[in-house]
């Protein structure tokens, strides 16, 4: 009897709760135009406009003919869309003696970027892996020296490297430039990889050792397949960094092998004749296209990798 009574009480109490209709229930209502939202989206729109407006002007200008540009209305959309400036920027614009446009610089940049990126990432990832998992005597010291290297201004090292490359007989060649890019990418990339590999559970590494995998076995079969995000981050950092590099390109190569950025500068800054703004804009867009595409294709992985690698140090 006592049991039945207690069950009844519980049921009644439950009903009482269910019947209470008035008063707040469920998710709290949110107003769309709250002060918070206005502030948030207002700021976002403002900042986006600040960054996108120059891009808009560039695209619009690059699609106009010169007569239309001379009218001076920079924000107006083109009345007559023409791709002439793009073609000219790519194929026939003159830099110094050559008149084959940016295409030469583009292929030079590809020839510089691809080996530099691959080589630097390959070496740095092994560096980071060794520093994170195979501590050796003096490994902390080695790491510190490497990191300090990242803080020394490039300008200090430019001339010594010129001499070094000259003595090695590769001054002015693409090989020399690739080596320079690889070396200068080392500190930041090693740091990136070391931090990422440190965040991989140590027991995984131990298990692989018990399973008989050696230094390279663990690197290729365990660590590398686990580290796609950080490799993507490294690729993005290196591709954009090396593609956008101007200083090393202009110092360590000869005019016939100038990278795209140097050539762009030469096109835009050439003083003879009229300034062809539409061609300049098209050339600039063409040069910036590669990093832009890399970002768009790998944005998601980039964020994931940065978050995974950067937090833990």
């Amino acid at each position: 009897m006592a049991n039945v009574a207690s069950i009844n009480t519980t049921a009644a109490a439950f009903d009482a709760v269910a019947d209470r209709v008035e008063g707040p229930a469920g998710p709290r209502p949110r107003r769309v135009l709250s002060r918070r939202n206005i502030l948030l989206y207002g700021t976002l729109i403002l900042v986006s406009a600040y960054y996108l407006l120059p891009l808009y002007v560039m695209i619009v200008t690059s699609l106009k003919g010169m007569p239309e540009i001379r009218i001076g209305n920079v924000f107006a959309p083109p009345l007559e869309i023409t791709f002439e400036p793009w073609v000219k920027a790519w194929a026939t614009a003159c830099t110094g003696l050559n008149c084959d446009g940016l295409s030469r610089g583009f292929w030079n940049s590809v020839r510089i970027t691809v080996p530099s990126v691959l080589l630097s990432i390959l070496i740095a990832s092994v560096n980071g892996y060794a520093l994170a998992n195979w501590r050796f005597r003096g490994s902390e010291m080695f790491f510190t020296i490497l990191i300090v290297g990242a803080f020394i201004p490039y300008q200090v090292m430019i001339y010594p490297i010129v001499i070094l490359l000259r003595e090695m007989g590769i001054y002015g060649t693409l090989t020399g430039l690739v080596i320079v890019h690889t070396i200068f990418g080392m500190p930041i990339l090693t740091l990136l990889f070391r931090n990422y590999f440190t965040s991989v559970p140590e027991e995984l590494f131990k298990a692989a050792r018990v399973d008989g995998a050696g230094f390279w076995g663990i690197y290729f079969k365990i660590m590398m397949p686990m580290s796609l995000p950080i490799f993507v981050v490294a690729i993005i950092i290196q591709v954009t960094g090396i593609w956008n590099d101007f200083l090393f390109g202009v110092v360590y190569t000869r005019p016939e092998s100038y990278p795209m950025t140097v050539q762009l500068n030469n096109i835009v800054n050439s003083v003879q004749g009229v300034k062809e703004y539409n061609v300049n804009m098209a050339a600039t867009l063409l040069t910036g296209l590669v990093p832009l595409i890399v970002y768009f294709l790998s944005g998601k992985l980039f964020v994931r990798g940065i978050a995974a690698g950067a937090v833990k140090g």
């Binding site: 559970p201 027991e203 995984l204 298990a207 692989a208 050792r209 018990v210 399973d211 008989g212």
Partner: protein
């Protein structure tokens, strides 16, 4: 020089990290087919010791023998050990089958041999349906089974477990505990098992080594560790709820040893002293809550009346906190016989079940 029936032997093993001594000249023999549990609080060096046996850490001094072979300088893979880790440590990008066969592929075993061994391990651990899955698609218990399987396929003499059940919830832990015990019966391999969980230690072990500060405090059968702890640390570490400790003074009255507390005396003539008891020595008297009875109506060598201060129901049992000689004393009683707070009860115990430690070096008298 070493006896053949010892599976693992440690001879004066030390390990220092800089100036920190993690293991101090440690000797340990593990018999063939024995299940040895290394038990201790975190930081006592138990996992470090296991890593040294596995070859994942180099010892600073001493020698390690496995199956009579000096493996002190050998690589982990050459020591004839398999290891199971707390975090499972499964290779995330490989299937279960890949995980199991990774070590065998590294050892360049023939393909059919690998398939046979994987199939056998999967059979023993009942993970056959999982072979093509990835670790991320497995539950915690399944992952740990795969991790055990990875040690199993290696066909080794010695299994090393590094807190394998600590990441699992209580129910799964109990299930897998039984499974590990069954595995040991089935395989009869030597197993060294590190844990901080005394229940695991008590239930699984043939022998337990209780460690503290890189030193083995006591190495004995679980029952002896429980009933006759060699020092106060072991006494306090083993048993839950923990042992009661009463500070008192030992005196000889009429030729018989007596423990003198603030307002009462406990006769100690039934206690098995290791050496002849000394008069006037400060001691710590330890008695487990389950060895104290309340309102039993029996004639105990020591009894007193005490008031109940706090009652902690634990389900099947209830822990009752009283006070004897001005010092707190917990009594473990069946819940149906538990008194209420404020009651006065008559407690009694037999000093034969107690442990007495000297206050000078905390060791058992």
């Amino acid at each position: 020089m070493e006896a053949v029936n010892n599976s693992v032997e440690l001879r004066r093993v030390s390990l220092n990290f800089g100036s920190v001594e993690v293991l101090r000249t440690l000797d340990l023999d593990v018999a063939e087919g024995e299940f040895l549990v290394l038990l201790g609080p975190s930081g006592c060096g138990k996992s470090t010791l296991l890593n040294c046996v596995a070859g994942l850490l180099d010892v600073s001094a001493g020698q390690i023998f496995i199956k009579g072979r000096n493996v002190t300088w050998e690589e982990p893979k050459d020591r004839g050990i398999g290891m199971v880790f707390q975090s499972y440590a499964l290779y995330p990008q490989m299937t279960v089958e890949g995980n199991l066969s990774f070590g065998l592929k590294n050892a360049r075993l023939p393909r059919e041999e690998i398939a046979n061994r994987v199939a056998r391990a999967a059979d023993i651990l009942q993970i056959k349906p999982l072979l093509q899955r990835r670790p991320s698609e497995l539950s915690g218990g399944q992952r740990q089974r795969v991790a055990i399987g990875r040690a199993l396929v290696r066909d080794v003499d010695v299994f090393l477990f590094d807190e394998p059940l600590s990441n699992l919830d209580a129910k799964l832990r109990a299930e897998l505990r039984v499974e590990i015990k069954r595995l040991h019966q089935q395989l009869a391999n030597t197993m060294i098992y590190v844990t901080h969980d005394q229940i695991e230690a008590m239930t699984l072990a043939d022998r337990i080594a209780v460690m503290r500060g890189g030193v083995i405090q006591q190495l004995d059968r679980p029952q002896n560790i429980y009933n006759r702890p060699v020092n106060r640390f072991v006494a306090g570490f083993i048993g839950s709820p923990g042992m009661n400790f009463l500070d008192g003074r030992m005196e000889i009255e009429g030729g018989k040893p007596v423990l003198r507390l603030a307002d009462c005396a406990v006769p100690l003539d039934r206690y098995g002293f290791a050496d002849a008891p000394a008069d006037g020595r400060d001691v710590v008297f330890g008695i487990r809550p389950e060895h104290v009875s309340a309102n039993s109506g029996m004639d105990w060598p020591f009894s007193a009346s005490a008031s109940v201060e706090v009652v902690e129901p634990m389900g099947s049992d209830t822990l009752v906190w009283t006070r004897v000689g001005g010092q707190p004393l917990a009594v473990r009683l069946p819940t149906e016989r538990a008194p209420e707070e404020g009651d006065t009860i008559s407690i009694g115990f037999d000093p034969m079940n107690a442990s007495i430690f000297g206050t000078d070096d905390d060791s058992r008298l």
